[in-house]
Amino acid sequence: MTVSKATVVANIYKEFYDILVTATGFTTIIYPAWPEFDVDSKSNYPLIILGSPDISWDEFTITKKWVNGTIGIDIYTTAANTCDQYADRTIDKVETERDTLRTAGLSFVSLDSTTKDSVDRGKIRVHIKTITFSFKFIFTKTRTW
């Protein structure tokens, strides 16, 4: 699948989703948003929420623009070491599939930042790791002159 000017957000999401879903243990735990069902017991975790990409434009050349974007991946687990393991798998998977992303049109895919949090939810402690990747995409802009 190739990312195009008309399908930037949707196809970038799909690219990252297709890559992450093939990582070990990720097949049934990736969601686009917080799940509808109650997540108040340990059996509901781990959870991975793949957020929608955020993008902005910059000038590249006279006829082309850069799309600068970031995509966030939230990992929710009930154990801190498991959280780190899933984070490692996520980062490694995206890094090894950079060529696939380049073929789809995404360049300069890079790990932007990670953040960590932990919250007590009822009787369980939830550990959250947010991983943010940045990327660029070039498209030909509509001429107005």
């Binding site: 970031t70 939230d74 930042s113 949090d117 919250v119 939830v126 959250i128 947010t130």
Partner: protein, 157 residues
């Protein structure tokens, strides 16, 4: 005798100083949005749950130079900052938030207060925004440093 001084890289330095305010502003704004996103997610997880309305009413809004975290649930302030000691509130008053089809019963009592027909116990407050903010503040310096480095790189530094 003539001494000629050549200063190399002046153009590049000039370009850096011209571009830096704009790129810095953009990167700091991106990091602000990222920070508030973190606080929003943390607050949503920390918010006490019964119907889930409080958590779902937490969102962020962006204007050109400002990112604001808002909680629109009518009882959000009381939940965050307290409403006094545990006390009874008439179910009729809370019905618009819970929905007309819900019934209140013994499950709504707090320890020490017996159930009363037609009344709900408002418990001790449980802040959810401030703890989320405190958790996020620990990450903020690193976010800003990374944003500044990116801005300098983008400006040609």
């Amino acid at each position: 005798m003539v001494i000629v001084v050549h200063v190399k890289g002046l153009n590049r330095a000039h370009k850096l100083f011209a571009q830096l305010p704009k790129t810095l502003n953009q990167e700091i704004m991106k990091k602000s949005v990222e920070f508030m996103g973190f606080v929003k997610k943390s607050a949503k997880l920390r918010a006490p749950r019964f119907t889930g309305y409080l958590a779902s009413s937490i969102f962020i809004t962006k204007t050109k130079n400002q990112v604001t975290l808002k909680v629109t649930a009518p009882y959000a302030a009381a939940q965050e900052m307290g409403a006094g000691l545990p006390h009874y509130v008439s179910v009729r008053k809370l019905m618009p938030w819970f929905g007309a089809s819900r019934t209140m019963g013994a499950g709504m009592m707090a320890p020490g207060l017996s159930p009363k027909k037609g009344m709900v116990v408002v418990r001790r407050y449980k802040p959810f925004i401030k703890p989320a903010l405190e958790a996020g503040l620990a990450n903020l310096p690193n976010m800003l440093i990374n944003g500044t480095k990116k801005a300098i790189r983008r400006a040609g530094g």
